[in-house]
Symmetry: C2
Subunit: 477 residues, 2 copies
């Protein structure tokens, strides 16, 4: 497993190829040094051209062509079609929600305070048997709005009706890795549809959409299907996105039934030799570590700690052990039906807190480590380590601006700590993807929330009806 490094270079001067598309001035920029340590550039100027970060420089850029567009000559001295004066704000790479089911925001709060078996079998899987394309479309739209407002610029989605989610992603301006989920109960057709989706949609939406094969989990997809998925992934160069070792019970059930852990099942199917995104992994146990160490694919894990606490699972993702193997652990929210929000900012704070508590060590995760998970590791986990995850020249311009002027984020003794432990998703003022501004000063520019909410509420009685007694699947680890 090797992870290509983006190469931040704050010394590169601005191009003189005419006006930039976007210039951000006066911010403090989160950057990574050559050892990937998180640091900050004060009074930074970020120049964006062609959807990429061209330069990140300390202080105002003074060289450049004649003033044009909306640039403010007094602060930038640099021509740009669009200028953001970001004094008092921190620029950081957009957050990545490494594992979610975005349309499930429609079920936020539908099944509260329950063990996972009841949550699935009594609520979520019966309700999902009612799901219509329009529900998915509206849910995805609401989810994209929530994520843009919370500073998320990219999400890895694993759900049904993904053609619809792809269309909404394109419309929203967000970046995403999308996978059409399947169970073996669907026969070969499920896997074929997942492949068909992945091939039709990859690198669409101006390259913002990448795709995965999305087998649901080792307890719902059989070994033959998993092995076929691994072959298809290698053949087509696709990421595989799967739930595995979600909790300790699943690992124990797998051992009891098959004599193998879920991770050993993935290995046996050849999935650790593909690029693989494992959701959750709180059931990863000691004997899985050498198996993961032998992986030849780029394996990453997505951790969504809020849900683990809420379901009262006994463990959280073993971040320290995974990091010792060089496996990136990205931040996630899972779907809002379990997590109640798509707030990756909260996932960042909870990852730091849950790791301290479960490892009984207040010294880690430090805030800088949490920010490393939120940036480079999250980008790598979703297979985009060469495109996003750092404010570095040449990478895509996925940037969020966070306002720290509120009383809850002052004074600032340790900016990393302020970001992780004091700031909140609502402090994100501006969200930019591929250099395009999707939210400016908290105003969403690509989505109409009130219209979406009105229609969701009108459709809700039909969606949540469980009187038919059907469900799409049984939860039985």
């Amino acid at each position: 497993m090797t992870w290509p490094e983006p190469t931040p270079d704050a010394r590169t001067g601005p191009s003189t190829r005419g006006p930039a598309d976007l210039v951000i001035t006066g911010c403090t920029a989160l950057v990574h040094d050559e050892r990937e340590e998180v640091g900050f550039v004060e009074n930074a100027t970020i120049v964006v051209r062609g959807g990429r970060i061209e330069t990140v420089t300390a202080g105002p850029v003074t060289a450049g062509p004649a003033i044009a567009g909306r640039a403010d000559p007094t602060t930038t001295g640099l021509a740009a079609a669009e200028h953001i004066d970001a004094r008092g704000q921190v620029a950081l790479p957009g957050l990545v929600n490494c594992h979610t089911h975005s349309p499930m925001v429609t079920l936020r709060g539908i099944a509260e305070d329950l063990p996972i078996e009841e949550w699935f079998n009594e609520f979520v899987w019966p309700i999902e048997s009612n799901l219509q394309e329009r529900d998915v479309e509206l849910g995805a739209r609401l989810a994209c709005a929530e994520m843009i407002r919370g500073g998320v610029t990219c999400f890895a989605d694993h759900y049904f009706s993904m053609d619809t989610v792809a269309a909404v992603t394109a419309e929203s301006g967000l970046r995403a890795n999308l996978g059409q989920a399947f169970f073996s109960s669907q026969g070969a057709e499920g896997r074929e549809r997942s492949l068909d989706f992945a091939l039709r949609h990859r690198d669409t939406a101006d390259g913002r959409i990448t795709t995965s094969l999305a087998p649901h989990a080792p307890y719902t997809v059989d070994d033959a299907d998993l092995a076929a998925t691994a072959r298809l992934a290698r053949e087509h160069g696709l990421l595989v996105h799967i739930h595995a070792a979600e909790n300790r019970d699943q690992t124990e059930a797998s051992l009891a039934r098959h004599g193998r852990t879920p991770i050993e099942i993935l290995a046996g199917a050849g999935l650790l030799d593909t690029d693989l995104l494992i959701a959750h992994g709180t059931g990863i146990v000691e004997r899985d570590l050498p198996v993961l160490a032998r992986a030849s694919g780029r394996v990453g894990v997505a951790s969504a700690p809020r849900g683990y606490l809420k379901f009262a699972w006994p463990t959280t993702t073993p971040v320290r052990a995974l990091r010792e193997l060089g496996i990136p652990v990205g931040l996630a929210t899972d779907g809002a039906a379990s997590n109640n929000s798509l707030d990756v900012w909260e996932s960042m704070a909870l990852t730091a807190l849950a790791q301290k508590f479960t490892e009984a060590d207040p010294r880690r995760l430090t805030s800088r480590q949490a920010l490393h998970h939120a940036t480079l590791q999250s980008a790598r986990a979703v297979g985009l380590g060469e495109r996003i995850g750092s404010l570095a020249p040449g990478l895509r311009a996925d940037i969020v601006l966070v306002d720290l002027s509120g009383p809850h984020t002052q004074p600032v003794h340790d900016l990393a700590a302020t970001l992780v432990h004091s700031a909140r998703a609502g402090d994100v003022h501006t969200t930019i993807v591929d250099g395009r501004i999707l939210m400016r000063d908290r105003e969403l520019l690509t989505l109409d929330v009130p219209a979406v909410v009105r229609e969701i509420n009108a459709r809700m009685p039909a969606l949540i009806d469980r009187s038919h007694g059907r469900r799409i699947q049984d939860y039985d680890t």
Copy 2:
């Protein structure tokens, strides 16, 4: 231990004694029924007069005197000096921060990712030896601003220079219970100053300030001082606010040194026969429960779960065991030097999550239980159960309005869950104490944050200097 109940009565009609001071219309109001269960009144009208809630009624109030003031006749039909159209918002009792050290916001982020011994001995207690009145004043002002913006209407503060904190509390418009902290290392003078403060300030600021005696902790205040404090509390009818059994290590150290737990030490000093607010209590053990059950005073506990996770303490406040004894557990943040914020909303969510996790039971705390802690139990914990904690006629009008129109709080299947697990402190739009609006549509009306932040930053180098080698106390449980 008995807790007098507020008596909500939504059937009482409005008074006809001239215009009301404030009318809030169109909101959904959180109320408690006769068994104290949390419920919601749709399209509620709240009438405030003389700083108290006069009525909470379903639907618009139609009776009433001639229209006057700023009331909107089309929606209220009721005269009022001030009218808030709160359609789409939820009204709830203002949150109570049951244990904090408000001026410590100036040290937010100063000592990160450390065990508590280093946090105290290497950072907090050396820095506090530099503390000037002006630092306390500015810190308290910033803290009040943060709390008002986060929907906190009352806080229990335990710190130094409390005359200054009282002045800032009065100016901010907040309600508070304030105690001047003391150590036995200060001799009898510390205790006397704490009493003097408590007697001079109680029921000041139009009754918004109540006071406590504030011995620091059983490991810094000796048995004789604790017993003297208990006598003074009974003599003067004062609450006692103390750190005790903060963590398991303290309980074990106390057993090793004295053969008694911190709770047994409090009992031996007579403090369980006073009205007592215990901060933290994560070190409360099985043998403490019968001791607490025998308490004849009104004992409450303040829980600040974020810090317990951050310090990697092995336990959290034993909420279930305390509830079985009838002891109210209120929500708190502790100081921002450890907690990084004064976000009681986050404490509410983390209390629910941490209890599920530590009790290995996803079924509790439910969101309604969390809201009960945030309202009635918090009010009782700080000795104000007869004045605040519920939107009930006759209680003080401490009300917050929360906007749920954001994409992260829609749709609403379970309003209690939406409030606890999806809403955030930043969704509070309006904060009202004693009927006076302290924040309206996110605009602070009583405090000037930029001026405070500028002066704090200018004073910071002198405040955080540790080169002198002094500290105000040693942490050694």
